[in-house]
């Protein structure tokens, strides 16, 4: 089996975020970037499937130069190849434009299955991989918590998360796009040997022309959804912040919980 895994590089969830000067996105210069959380689980699932059924995994990422690090990590974890859509024309797109580019790249890979995450931890459209499935004309499933490849790899049994602690189980035909939810497995760590080997593995950087894409169809130019500005959320009824060092704050909190809220 040949599996393409879509991984996105996003700011570390630990990162302290600041709104950029132009107000349109966050200040990215001093942030640490990592593989998107659900994509890490997707990558692990792909590696497990090929370990059980044979084949190899190709990691695909659309992102700026820094995203090469995410692909290097994917190679170190056990992917055979990587594809980086790094050209400027690819960048800044909405889910639809990103999916158009990813689909063109996936088509060149002759994959039997595409795995992705369910939602990116930055823009969080939860859409990109379903749109990619549309381009490929393959069935898809979102929020997948279990994948079992069946006889002859012509179908797969999928467990999908639903609201409030219920899963739905169904069969779908392959090839398909499977959008993995965090928690499906426990991702491995890269070994030193893996990191050394990764340096010699192929990392392709096809241009839009290489993939037969017009630049008007991709990136910001190919997008109908545009972020106008970002801000910190407010409810107009924020918490009363209790000041002081840890001990003083703890004491006055307890007093408030006893006297004001009367819950202690």
């Amino acid at each position: 089996m040949r599996i393409a895994v879509c991984i996105k590089q996003v700011p570390d969830t630990e990162a302290r975020l600041r709104v950029a000067k132009d107000g349109r996105w966050i200040e990215e210069d001093d942030l640490r970037f990592v593989i998107n959380e659900s994509d890490e689980y997707a990558l692990e699932e792909a590696l497990r499937i090929t370990e059980a059924h044979g084949g190899d995994v190709v990691a695909v990422c659309l992102g700026p130069d820094r995203a090469k690090e995410a692909l290097r990590k994917a190679l170190a974890l056990g992917c055979a190849e990587a594809v980086h859509l790094v050209d400027d024309a690819y960048q800044g797109g909405d889910a639809a434009a990103t999916a158009t580019a990813l689909a063109a790249a996936v088509r060149t890979l002759e994959a039997d299955l595409v795995l992705s995450g369910s939602q990116s931890d930055d823009v969080g459209y939860g859409s990109t991989a379903s749109l990619l499935a549309g381009h490929l004309g393959w069935p898809h499933a979102w929020l997948v918590m279990g994948v079992e490849i069946e006889d002859g790899a012509s179908s797969t049994k999928v467990t999908r998360e639903m609201e409030s602690g219920t899963n739905e189980i169904f069969r779908m035909q392959l090839p398909a796009v499977i959008e993995v939810q965090a928690g499906i497995n426990h991702p491995r760590y890269a070994s030193l040997k893996g990191i050394m080997k990764a340096k010699r593995k192929p990392l392709a950087t096809p241009s839009p022309a290489d993939l037969g894409l017009e630049s008007a169809a991709i990136g910001a130019a190919g997008s109908r959804i545009e972020i106008v500005d970002v801000s910190f959320p407010s409810s107009g009824d924020e918490a009363e912040i209790i000041e002081g060092d840890a001990e003083a704050a703890a004491r006055s909190l307890v007093e408030k919980l006893q006297k004001e809220a009367r819950v202690l």
Binding site: D122, S127, S164, G165, E247, Q258
Partner: protein, 327 residues
């Protein structure tokens, strides 16, 4: 009025009636229609939807389109997209509003692809940006919110986040129902069944006090400070999803949209940022206290009291202060 705009609201059913969030979607659709001077029309899909269609016809809508087909009995994206894409292409509404449920997210992006629509997921409000209609939605795990514009030509899809609009605001009225013309539709999944997640089934729904721990705890070795706080308070321990995904606590401790819903009199959120999927599981709590090192963390917007700082210092200090107070 030939050029009046039209809004469709595609509703999700649950056990023959309306899903809670479908009411919220109706309220959202009506609000958008009022803002644009548009017609608001609902769409109901299923194998037999007579009762639900009658219920929807009791809202202030310009029409209720009823899509009835055997293949729509059990939800599959193939059948839903097959039913809706041609209908949307031919009616060409300006907007299609969906409730942002797990089911919608599974098929709406695919439907957008097939219907040639732009899609803005997780809308929490409609806003006026200098005369231009903007949609507010969470980004970066809810740590920030973005306002987005939809440009270009053609249909725009919006899915409205849980709780952003109140179902009580959905205006009653009366609407005419009419069948939606359907082409050939086929399921693309063979449904095998459902299973309950969570194993031991710790029931947190009746807990009086909940100490909930998030990714900010850092590693499982740090868990004892939270356990001591919970023991001192006589509280149950709950967690955000990453704590469970990392295997630091069992799945039946998860609070949120894919976990348990709690409504204690006191909820302590420790190292939890406050993503919407977590908030929906705890927003019924009477008093919420948050401890977080990030003063901008969205959890503070739903908390009564907050302490900004390092949980590794604050949690043990709080345990000691509670023990003292209890004498």
């Amino acid at each position: 009025m030939a050029d009046a705009k039209t809004i469709w609201i595609v509703l999700q059913l649950r056990e023959g009636g309306l899903h809670r969030m479908s009411r919220e979607a109706i309220a959202a659709g009506q609000a958008l229609a009022a803002r644009l001077g548009a017609r608001a029309e609902a769409v109901v899909l299923g194998a037999e939807v007579g009762d639900a269609a009658a219920e929807v016809a009791g809202f202030d809508l310009d029409a209720v389109h009823v899509a009835e087909h055997a293949a729509l009995g059990a939800y599959t994206p193939g059948a839903y997209v097959g039913a809706l894409a041609p209908a949307i292409r031919s009616a060409a509404p300006d907007f299609v509003v969906f409730p942002h449920t797990y089911q919608s997210v599974d098929y709406v992006a695919r439907l957008a692809y097939e219907a040639g629509a732009a899609y803005v997921p997780e809308v929490v409000s409609f806003e006026d940006g200098e005369g231009e209609l903007l949609f507010r939605r969470p980004v970066l795990g809810g740590k920030l919110q973005a306002r987005v514009r939809v440009g270009g030509e053609g249909v725009a899809f919006l899915s409205v986040q849980s709780g952003a609009f109140s179902g009580d605001d959905a205006r009653a009225g009366s609407a005419e129902t009419r069948p939606l013309e359907l082409g050939e539709i086929t399921a693309d999944r063979e449904i095998l069944g459902t299973e309950t997640v969570g194993g031991d089934q710790v029931d947190l729904s009746k807990a009086d006090v909940v100490v909930a721990v998030g990714r900010g705890i850092g590693k499982p070795e740090n868990m004892p400070i939270v356990e001591e706080l919970a023991a001192t308070l006589g509280a149950d321990i709950g967690a955000s999803r990453p704590v469970i995904d990392n295997g630091w606590l069992p799945r039946d401790r998860q609070i949120g949209s894919s976990g348990q819903t709690v409504a204690p009199k006191l909820y302590l959120a420790i190292g939890i940022s406050g993503a919407i999927q977590h908030l929906v599981g705890m927003k019924g709590s009477s008093t919420v206290v948050s401890i977080n090192k990030d003063a901008n963390a969205p959890i503070f917007t739903v908390s009564d009291y907050g302490i900004v700082g390092d949980l590794h210092e604050i949690v043990p200090a709080l345990t000691a202060a509670i023990a003292d107070a209890k004498g």
